[in-house]
Amino acid sequence: MSSAKPSLRAQSGPYFGDFGGRFVPESLVAALDELSAEYALAKADPAFAAELSELHRSYTGRPSLITEVPRFAAHGGGARIILKREDLNHTGSHKINNVLGQVLLTKRIGKKRVIAETGAGQHGVATATAAALFGLDCVVYMGEVDTERQALNVARMRLLGAEVVSVKTGSRTLKDAINDAMRDWVTNVETTNYVFGTVAGPHPFPAMVRDFQKIIGEEARQQVLDLTGRLPDAVTACVGGGSNAMGIFHAFLDDPEVALYGYEAGGEGIEGLRHAATLTKGRPGVLHGARSMMLQDEDGQTVESHSISAGLDYPGVGPEHAWLAAIGRATYLPVTDAEAMDSLRLLSRTEGIIPAIESAHALAGTLELGKKLGPDSIILVNLSGRGDKDMETAGRYFDLLDAGAQQL
């Protein structure tokens, strides 16, 4: 390692290159300052780390496994493909890692109410879970379109004791859920902490959420070394807001021999408008409190995104990803709905693992990457979530549900 080169891992905001900052109403600045200060104290407090670590072990089930998937990998040029199994976490995705950290922080600050936004429902379910565990009031904002396509997750949140607010403004998806959560926070900031679900938003959220997710890469880096005796040639993940991707990328940022690939939702194809490929097709702009890349029209109005996966259906992306793309450290490519769904079925049938549709984008991208890197290569994929929540979408997509269903 060259001492002249600054560590990419050391970045902690408010800016990542030209991206990040705080573009928020003045009313929120005090709360963001309080959160930053309290987080800095917590970060330096061994008792906080110990409590979080114990929750990871005894509640979430960390460390999560890695699983090599040779039958699946045979379709990807024979590269060795290793999955980091965040799908096995309690609540079914990586989201719990961040939520437990932020809820412990909420407890430290002394607030009794948490709010969250959710797209697919994974972050909402994780927040409702942690709120139940710690006896906090919880309100989850979810776009009306998403409450319809993720009805089972709505039921899960309600069963856990959370109030789910169906957001009927704007495009009625994740971006509007974030707007309404911000409005709630501005109004109730004295009693309420906003448990933000991804590495976007105003400082300190991008760095803080990244820090709570970086355990994924720290575990996986060692696990791959133990299994194969070397670092992987590439690490891959899906990118919506980008928290699971930052979580697995971060430990490898200062390993220049490890390529990093993020796969965005290409939706129905990036030639048209029905996609969520923010880094591929977006321009720099300000959305939800940070300067980053975003899908927007000439006037700076946010353009509605599209993806078969509610969790990737977001017109923005975290500022650290925008920076990693700008400096060329990570590569971001689009994967279409159809490619993702093919990979979802392929992993199910070759390995007996049903991934979330979000994670299936990473799998599809990895198969193509494997063909490029060849049979001697090792690729680590973040399998960020499991597919249970997506069965209705998959059932309809593959025609598995009704009396005349396909026997695949």
């Binding site: 109403p25 003045e26 009313s27 704007g170 409005r183 702009g285 700076g300």
Partner: protein, 276 residues
Amino acid sequence: MTNTSTPGTGYTSTVEATIAARRAAGGGALIGYLPVGFPTLSESIDAAVSIAQSGVDIIELGLPYSDPVMDGPVIQAATQQALANGFRLRHGFEAVAAITAQVDTPVLMMTYWNPVLQYGIDRFADDLAAAGGAGLITPDLIPDDAQSWLDASERAGLDRVFLAAPSSSDERLVQAVTRSRGFVYAVSTMGITGARSDVDSAARVLVTRLREAGSTSACVGLGISTPAQVREVLEYADGAIVGSALVKALADGGVAAVSTLAAELAAGARDIRAAV
């Protein structure tokens, strides 16, 4: 980030002068918000002109934006309709030019930051100044991240109104006062736009703190909808900002209704000393 802008050389803010004149006359300024393009572009221009003619001292002209995090349901609905009707940023400059051609009332634009960024900060400042606009109110731009706007507004001779909140630290209030020109927008309550039955007592405290921070031009907004509330606020503040109530009047009763409400509100803003 360093803030190094210097107060304008020879530049006087018509907004500030208007507010000072109202104070000197024993009342305070009434600032009225309406969005461009609602219900249509031409009606929004007519509505803005009519409230000025009915006694509104300063017009706050809102640019519709897809993600208005500071706005409540009434303004959200109006600006969403404007966007659905095909609102474009150039309509904002057209509206400012059309309004300032008909009335002398200063016009500030209220806009979220991304449209300005995409248009180009300097180009936006130049086009706003050319249209006769007085400056910008920026609800999601804090002075900490505003260096390029501080520079552009200085160069183009435009006002810049930053927000101050009950939760702001003393240091941040000083920053808001120092960086703002025209007035400081004192957020009456922790919340978003929309009529409220009581204007929070936090507003009075905030204005007192802004005075201690050096402000001579502190205007209170959020939740003000009646002549009585305007009068109450102007007992301690330099201006009262009314938004959602005007937008609702325009939505329900057209230009005639918004003009009537503006006249009633303006009556609340005059001769405060006589009333108290």
